[in-house]
């Protein structure tokens, strides 16, 4: 994917394939995804619902449960292979080294427990540098919970520790989720649609917060979203997923300025632009293909305006130089 020699990336996924057995047949949710996240970088993952972006990272977290199954490929994190890692080792990794915030913060907090309990339990389970002894340990975890809540900008953190999630607003719950995810200072944060359920103003605050903490703690971030604006603003690199495959990847600015895959171009055309309200929004015609019965050739073919004969054969990912790649037969021809 890249031309420059680099130290081993923090996370590298190679040819990952994940399928779910359903009554209608085998759903190939992720089909040959390869990507890398380097230390300290922010990678944006863009795609429609069902494109496999959440499933890819659920696989990284080891959260795929039957009927889902990792059919092949490898996931390396910090020099270790995660596919087939034993459950106890995986549990120690989750939360401590890789943390993930799920799509909907309003339901990701347990309604029956105070937020303080939820964050201190994570600290007690994972943090290694807490003092010994039951009392001091609990007090230290509580203090660190308050520190984390301050870090994510929850006002009067001390007083809110004993509140229940329903006493928090949506934005505050999202902050709380981030505080919990970051409480053990993971090396990688996977934020799955961290702002989908939030007002735009709160969205910006939460994203700024993640960017700020990323800089402070030096961690890597994977931002899963369907909002290209968010990616443009916060991500160093971006990978676009379509029907379980990466169709384009590269440095964000270049990808957005000159997309090499018709799907990326289509996504960009379907975003309204405030500075040019006369520009018509062009939705991509057609629908995402059925993941049970995928065509052999390009998966975007039925919706593509540039379709051509070569598109009916399997299309591999093509390196385009400067860290860019696209899964399109026309990509080479582009300047």
């Amino acid at each position: 994917m890249t031309d420059h020699p680099m130290p081993e990336p923090l996370l590298s996924i190679t040819d990952l394939r994940v399928a779910f057995a359903t009554r209608g047949g085998l759903v190939r949710a992720v089909d040959g995804v390869s990507l890398e996240v380097r230390a300290g970088e922010c990678l944006g993952i863009v795609g429609e619902s069902g494109s496999g972006k959440s499933v890819t990272f659920a696989s990284v977290m080891g959260l795929i449960r039957p009927p889902g199954r990792i059919e092949g490929g490898s996931i390396r994190f910090g020099g270790r292979d995660l596919v087939g890692l034993d459950p106890a080792a995986y549990r120690r990794l989750r939360g401590r080294e890789i943390a993930m915030t799920l799509q909907d913060a309003s339901t990701s907090l347990n309604p029956a427990l105070t937020v303080g309990t939820q964050i201190t339990e994570v600290l007690l389970a994972h943090a290694e540098d807490l003092p010994a002894g039951h009392g001091p340990r609990r007090r230290a975890a509580r203090q660190r919970a308050i520190d984390m809540m301050r870090l994510v900008g929850i006002p009067a953190a001390e007083g809110r520790l004993d509140d229940y999630p329903h006493q928090f607003s949506g934005g505050m719950r999202q902050r709380m989720m981030i505080a919990i995810a970051l409480s053990c200072r993971p090396r990688l944060l996977i934020a799955d649609e961290p702002t989908t359920a939030l007002d735009v103003t709160i969205q910006a605050q939460v994203l700024e917060l993640i960017a700020g903490i990323r800089a402070t703690l030096g961690m890597s971030v994977v931002l899963i979203t369907h909002d290209l604006g968010v990616v443009a603003e916060y991500c160093d690199r971006v990978a676009v997923l379509y029907a379980g495959q990466i169709v384009e990847s590269g440095p964000t600015a270049q990808v957005i300025a000159a997309p090499r895959h018709p799907y990326t171009a289509g996504l960009l055309r379907s975003v309204p632009v405030l500075s040019d309200l006369d520009r018509p929004i062009q939705p991509i015609p057609g629908q995402v293909p059925d993941l049970v019965d995928l065509p052999e050739g390009c998966r975007f073919l039925p919706r593509c305006a540039l379709a051509h004969a070569a598109c009916h054969a399997a299309v591999p990912m093509r390196g385009l130089g400067a860290g860019r790649a696209a899964r399109c037969v026309l990509a080479e021809a582009a300047p």
């Binding site: 977290m61 959260l63 995986y90 549990r91 120690r92 990794l93 989750r94 939360g95 401590r96 943390a99 993930m100 915030t101 799920l102 799509q103 909907d104 339901t107 990701s108 907090l109 347990n110 309604p111 029956a112 427990l113 339990e121 994570v122 389970a125 994972h126 989720m177 919990i180 995810a181």
Partner: protein
Amino acid sequence: MRRLGNLLPGKLAKLAAAAVLAFVLMAAAAPLLAPHDPAATDLFRRLQPPGWMAEGDWAYPLGCDALGRDILSRIIYGARVSIFIGVVVVLIATAIGIAAGLAAGYLRGWVDRVVSGLIDILLGFPYLIFAVGLMAMMGPGVLNMVMALAYKEWVVPARVVRGETLAARETEYVEAARAMGASSTYIMAREVLPNILSPVIVVASVRIAQVIILEASLSFLGLGVQPPTASWGSMVADGRGYILDAWWVSTFPGLAILLLVLSINVASQAVRDAMDPRFHD
């Protein structure tokens, strides 16, 4: 007091709750309240009618049974047996049911197949016949009765817990806990259990009444608490030979069963309404 008022809306529910409380206090303070020794026989008072009847004596307000024992005192002491067995059996059953239901609903796989299979098998037996069979094997007695009833009673909370756990398992907060590296045991005990507790409490409160009826039934059949200990079920059985001449011997303990079970049912209905948000307007 305001909270209690909210929990039990309606005058009937408050009355029922007061009646349940009265029965519990009565059972607890039985030695202080009972006018006579519940086991003391007096052949001169054999089948003596209640106080207000012609040959009655107000010292024995509800009359005496075939052995001349004071019925009121026996009812007061009998409340101990009924409430003790009702509460203990439901507590044991709920503890087992929570453990089995959580494991089956969260872990799925072979654990679920074993637990669900056991539940289906046990549900196939009529409850009373199952308990009668067990009592016949183990012999009568309070402890054996608790075991005989708990053997099957756990199925009720287990089904409820399993169903609720299946739903809770798919929630985002359980997924989030998994993503933060929580173990299965931790998720079952700390994430799932607090969220499914209210239906479990509702079921337990309803089941206490059912278990009290079963205890009375077993005692009626002579398989329960053994004489001279007073039990409402065996008191009803004792009087059934005299029902035409001395109706009070069976009637008063029967009324006691009816009143306690009815009160528990009405009160638990109110608890259920208070805990289930679907019933709130």
